[in-house]
């Protein structure tokens, strides 16, 4: 299974990817996503499921079924856009609360055994070199925390120039 998480207007997304294959799930901004409030309910109340019910509570299970996760996001200050950040914040039930060490750093243990290729397409017109470097570091760090098998990062000055890459 592949998952695309994007912050594009639906018309723009449909023009970029007119036909979504049956093995691809698409996660977009419905305008109703609630922020993670750090309650840890997804770890110690309803393990694996977020306690906030807004249609985004099953992100952990969704990620467990993926071998590819693709993010399309505006790059802001070297970070993802707020919706994508929100989705990632709500994805911690994919992991366990318990800790492990990876390369001398503490990280959460994995709940599931799958790994996915983590690809991020950042768009933004006037990104600075510092923002690009921060974004690359962010994706690499996220890849470690989510046990991705590989991370790929692409930047586009114009949203339209993503079309060929995504099609």
């Amino acid at each position: 299974m592949k998952m695309i998480i994007h912050d594009l207007d639906s018309a723009v997304f449909n023009s970029f990817i007119p036909h979504v294959a049956s093995d691809i799930s698409v996660l977009s901004d419905t305008g109703h996503i609630k922020p993670c409030i750090g309650c840890f309910g997804c770890w110690i109340k309803t393990p694996g499921i977020c306690v906030r019910k807004d249609g985004y509570e099953n992100l952990g299970k969704m990620l467990s079924e993926c071998d590819e996760v693709t993010i399309i996001s505006k790059c802001i200050y070297g970070s993802y856009s707020p919706f994508i950040r929100n989705v990632l914040d709500r994805s911690i039930p994919y992991l366990l609360p318990y800790f492990t060490s990876k390369n001398g750093e503490t990280h959460h243990q994995r709940r599931y055994n799958n790994s996915f290729v983590f690809t991020v397409h950042f768009y933004g017109e006037d990104l600075t070199e510092a923002e690009r470097e921060t974004a690359k570091e962010l994706v690499a760090a996220n890849g470690i925390n989510f046990y991705s098998s590989k991370e790929k990062v692409f930047f586009y000055d114009r949203m339209e120039s993503m079309k060929g890459a995504l099609g």
């Binding site: 993670c36 750090g38 110690i44 200050y77 970070s79 707020p82 709940r111 760090a141």
Partner: protein, 212 residues
Amino acid sequence: MKIALMNGSPKPGNNNSGILLKKIEPLLGEGNELTSISTSGKELTPDQYRALCEMDVLLFAFPLYIDALPSHLFRIIIELERYMKEYKEKEVRVYVLINNGFYEGHQCHIAMKIMENWCKRSGLTFCGGIGQGAGEMMGTISNVPLGHGPLKDLGKAMVRISENIANGTQVEKRMLSPNVPRFFWKLMATHFFWNTTARKNHLNRRDILRKL
């Protein structure tokens, strides 16, 4: 000096960012006009945004979420950039206190860079700050005085950053782990936090580990 204490935690009630702000508040000295702003559970009002543009110092405290800022706070700083560009008339300096749930403070370094990039975009003066590991311990050791026990290094760094705020100078980015051994922290987190809290919810270890 007008200083805004920005609590960037989305967690309602007592939170670790609030504990850090409470600990630094007495160090900021007298004669300052302090404004505390919570970002939990509600949008900032236009008046609050405009008031932030009139501050001398913005002191942010927030938890690390997936290597970056919590999404609700990220929405706020994007909006604040817009207000700063319209209403700011003098230098505004930004200091940052980040806490993360892992042991190593250095895992806060990307969030620190995001704040620095935000400052550049918004015309603000980024003045550095502290990245503190084992942030979830703060609640259980909140009565420990700064500069003692597990808060030994944090105490020194807090004094330093308070001096920098008073002097109008930049502080180096300080990434701190708690003054307790890693194995002890991990033991406490596993058995006295995760497992104990789960048991209160009538869950056992097998429940916590479940796959869906």
